[in-house]
Symmetry: C2
Subunit: 150 residues, 2 copies
Amino acid sequence: MDRIDRKLLNLLQHDASRTNANLADEVGLSPSSCLRRIRRLRQAGVIDRIAAILNPAKAGRTLRAVVTVELRLHGEPNTRQFLDSAVREDAVAQAHAVTGDVDAVLMLRLRDMEEYDALCHRLFQDRTNVARYWTMMVIRTAKDETAIPL
Amino acid sequence: MDRIDRKLLNLLQHDASRTNANLADEVGLSPSSCLRRIRRLRQAGVIDRIAAILNPAKAGRTLRAVVTVELRLHGEPNTRQFLDSAVREDAVAQAHAVTGDVDAVLMLRLRDMEEYDALCHRLFQDRTNVARYWTMMVIRTAKDETAIPL
DNA sequence: CGCCTCCGTGCATTTTTATTGCATACTGGA
DNA sequence: TCCAGTATGCAATAAAAATGCACGGAGGCG
């Protein structure tokens, strides 16, 4: 994992559709060497996958929200059970168990408030283990980065 | 944006390294038609980009945190100013202005607590506009999805 | 200090994949 | 029903990726 690998990863994190020859040129390697490095990085699992990133607006999921959740019963098995139910929801983009005043944080991607309403019923109400939850609707996203700085 | 487009997008969101012929076969189209659809989706901006998704553990950023921030001076220009400073930080993966008790939410990707400490000094202390902030360290991530369900 | 091995590199070639031209089939509107 | 616009499949071409092979530098060891 030298300087060239890092440079390659940075380029690929922002645009993985570039040709190998193009990348090779930019990092100062021959195409074959460059390709072999990329393949090595994939096999080592440093590169988890190559994915298409959609424009949320054009995919019809413009509404985002951050929800913090306090459970009635805390501790490992309860937290796990709650997260399992959250993971199954399409609108839940991220689900984390966290330290602090609450037990979990969810990041939602919603079509509209109707979907939000329905989701709240399923995850937070009636016979769920949720004591309270706080919803922060996203007004504006200033940064949303999939790349990990190296 | 018909059923085939959605199917293509779902496949590409999870693995954009597949060959066109392979995709075409799976959605039941000829390679050329399939390719033209994908190109159309890219030009229309539905597909924002193709990106390599790294394994955070192997990229050396295993620590994650969610930070909620309350500003001293609220309102648009102040929030914007704070978010601008957050955006510049490598460790800040996401930065959102939100509704609710706080003004902003940050998602962090950190190397270690030392980096967290340094970041807090720069963003939250001294002459910043931050009144209070609450850090929720991520214990476990149950879901972390880049794909947008269609 | 020299030798040896291993790993990464570059070049040339082969194989695979993407792209394009063209004729045909389909779809929605008058 | 006809027409215009658009998508489709096939075949040919262009481009890119993958591979075999020989060379060269870094590090270990006598």
